[in-house]
């Protein structure tokens, strides 16, 4: 019997299979992965699983408790919804990036120690950036709405911020581990340097100002499907780790409320329809962060419930606007309008998400967002209560009233469009039905929350308050409608510092740095280059006269030697050979003269010889 299977394993091993499965089997593989992962979460018991010992520290891959399980459920559900919505994308790399991203987010959620958390944290950043880069490559028909350069640049800026966050996190973990001799991931004290760096790393991913600009900068440049995944995992994983490590940290109340307000103010100015929604992600995540900062059981429950429902309705909002971009190729409010007749189902599904996010009763936002706001009230933090309520008003104004008005009504622009592909509608349909299901049956969600729930959303005063806010915001919308038309602009945000900052660096390089560089170059020339040249000259002289001299001398000697040996060869050896032959020649010529052929000459010589012999014999 298998004790426990890590849900990430389904995503990691499944994404390895994606390139090899073709045709009709592919959708089954793509949807089977999240379904199996979801079932594995239902089957296996709570407790610590997959523990290893590494360098004296205990690594825990599977800490399964109520807090991690609820994030596991919604992450796998949303992976299935996002994949249904993206089934038409014929690009294996895109599916693999999406599932590696999902798998690593699950890995981070189930990590029981800081080191494992860090590993999955980094895989998350590096797999998700591909969803942004693919946006510029035209994957999933984004070619006419997203420019390749914008997507590529935004991806690099996204990666830069996440690498910064990752480095902070790693540094914090190392300091924390040395200080406490433990890497177990439980409540982290934010007082020491280690705890502060860990918190900073988390705050980058949760998109807290001023570290938030990567989110509205990069998300609208991603692929239509990719944004659905992006909007789900990075910020909500950060919410999980904050709830685990920093619940009740006062700083988070201030930051969360700031985020909630910051997001809605920027959303009012935005013309790009997906960037507008991206600013609302910051606002919604801010409400969750504020809940974690308040830290009571109701507040933590509220933050987690809001994360759960927000994943569904924010995903649906982004799928709705993604469908509009997919069908029209336009992404700006100023270029869209009058689509309600041609895309009625998209409009309807978008409005379900819109009602959910603005907390209309019987929709998912009503039962979750109000928990956090009630927690602020119960803890008597009046300013947080008022500002979070204002954030709800702003959300209703721009996501639920202004944006759909501009896109689906507004000016008739004669755009030829129809409802998107069936799989996209099914994906949105599943999300919409879950939004309504949770709205009418909140207990379904409440029994999964980390703490026991004593909260009843459908009370007379809550309903009365909600309807008052909704209707009077609608009144404000109608009264100030003339102020709300979209404008062809972009808004400055904190990404200015690294986008224009890069250019300021270039100016510095061309102006003051250039002068400085001129001066240093001269000093360099005087102090280093000239002496070096002189040394080089000396070495050259040495080389020419001594080394070359030696080389030349040795070659001269060799030459001389060869001459001598040549002479010897010519005069002595050849001479000897020639001498012998010459002697033979001469003697042969002499001897030839002797051979006259006259017999008397031979007889005379014989007689003379005999006489000579007799004289010699007589003599001796």
């Amino acid at each position: 019997m298998v004790e426990w299977v890590h849900p990430s394993l389904f995503f990691f091993s499944g994404s390895a299979l994606i390139p090899f499965i073709k045709g009709r089997a592919k959708p089954f593989l793509l949807l089977g992965i999240p379904v199996l992962a979801f079932l594995s979460l239902l089957l296996f018991p709570e407790g610590d699983h997959g523990t290893f010992s590494f360098a004296g520290y205990k690594l825990v891959f599977g800490r399964v408790d109520r807090l991690s399980l609820i994030f596991g459920y919604i992450f796998t559900i949303m992976a299935a919804i996002g994949m249904i919505y993206g089934l038409h994308v014929r690009h294996d790399g895109h599916h693999i990036a999406a599932y590696l991203y999902t798998g690593s987010a699950l890995g981070a959620v189930f990590a029981g120690d800081l080191f494992t958390l860090f590993i999955f944290w980094e895989i998350m950043a590096f797999s998700s950036v591909f969803l942004i880069w693919y946006g510029g490559k035209g994957v999933g028909d984004t070619a006419n709405s997203i420019s390749s350069k914008n997507a590529s640049d935004a991806g690099f800026r996204y990666l830069m911020m996440h690498i910064f966050g990752g480095v902070c996190l790693l540094g914090g973990i190392v300091i924390y581990a040395v200080q406490f001799n433990s890497i177990a991931f439980n409540a982290v004290s934010p007082s020491g340097l280690g705890g502060m760096l860990i918190l900073l790393g988390f705050l980058v991913n949760v998109a807290a100002p001023p570290l938030h600009a990567w989110l509205p900068d990069a998300y609208p440049e991603a692929t239509i499907t990719g944004t659905v995944f992006l909007a789900t995992y990075t910020t909500k994983t950060a919410i999980y780790v904050l709830a685990r490590g920093f619940a009740g940290t006062d700083l988070l109340i201030y930051l969360g409320v700031l985020m909630a307000i910051y997001g809605i103010f920027y959303a009012m100015l935005e013309n790009d329809i997906r960037r507008l929604l991206a600013y609302h992600i910051i606002s919604q995540v801010g409400i969750m962060v504020a809940g974690i900062g308040i830290g009571t059981e109701l507040a933590i429950n509220g933050a987690v419930a809001l994360a759960f429902t927000n994943i569904l309705y924010k995903g649906l909002l982004i799928m709705g606007m993604g469908s509009v971009i997919f069908m029209t190729g336009r992404r700006k409010g100023t270029e869209l309008g009058g689509l309600y007749k041609s895309m009625p189902i998209t409009f309807l599904l978008y409005m379900i998400a819109g009602f959910s996010i603005s907390g209309v009763p019987l929709f998912a936002g009503f039962i979750s967002k109000s928990m956090v706001i009630s927690a602020a009230a119960e803890s008597h933090i009046s300013w947080a209560f008022l500002l979070l309520t204002m954030a709800s008003v702003g959300t209703l104004l721009s996501t639920t009233l202004k944006l759909p008005y501009i896109v689906f009504f507004g000016e008739e622009r004669g755009i030829k469009a129809k409802d998107p592909l069936k799989n996209m509608l099914y994906g949105m349909g599943v999300a919409a039905s879950l939004c309504i299901l949770l709205g009418v049956w909140p207990h379904l969600l409440y029994r999964l929350l980390p703490y026991p729930v004593e909260y009843h959303p459908y009370t007379g005063e809550h309903l009365s308050q909600s309807f008052q806010i909704l209707f009077f915001t609608l009144l404000g919308f109608v009264l100030f409608f003339h102020k709300l038309h979209p404008e062809r602009t972009i808004s400055l945000d904190f990404d200015w510092f690294y986008r224009k900052g890069g250019r300021a660096f270039m100016w510095l390089a061309s102006q003051p740095v250039a002068h400085y560089e001129e001066f240093t170059t001269e000093m360099y020339e005087f102090l280093l280059i000239k002496p070096a040249k002189r040394l080089a000259d000396m070495l050259w002289t040495f080389d020419t006269w001594v080394i070359d001299g030696l080389v030349n001398a040795s070659s001269l000697i060799t030459l001389l030697e060869s001459r001598i040996s040549e002479t010897f060869d010519i005069y002595v050896v050849d001479g000897a050979v020639n001498g012998i032959s010459a002697t033979l020649d001469i003697s042969a010529r002499g001897l030839r003269r002797l051979q006259t052929g006259a017999i008397q000459n031979y007889l005379f010589v014989i007689v003379l010889g005999i006489g000579l012999l007799m004289v010699i014999v007589k003599w001796f």
Binding site: M268, T489, I490
Partner: protein, 82 residues
Amino acid sequence: MKVMKLDKYLTTANIEKFKRGFYVSFALVGFDFLVPRHHIFFVWDKIPGFIALYGLLSSIIIISVSKAVGHIFLMKKEDYYG
């Protein structure tokens, strides 16, 4: 429903529909006088219709402040970053 600008829409006969909407809004405030209060955390929780006023006020603040700050400082031409 024809597609047209909302301000145009309001100037035509449809204004009656919106008047009805306003009546509903004010009926909601009237209803708020009757709703029993169980959870009182702040002073304003006892005031009927406070949250309606606050909602309207918030939307005015959000629209005016964001647009003002936007036009003064934040909003730039689309080719700002080149």
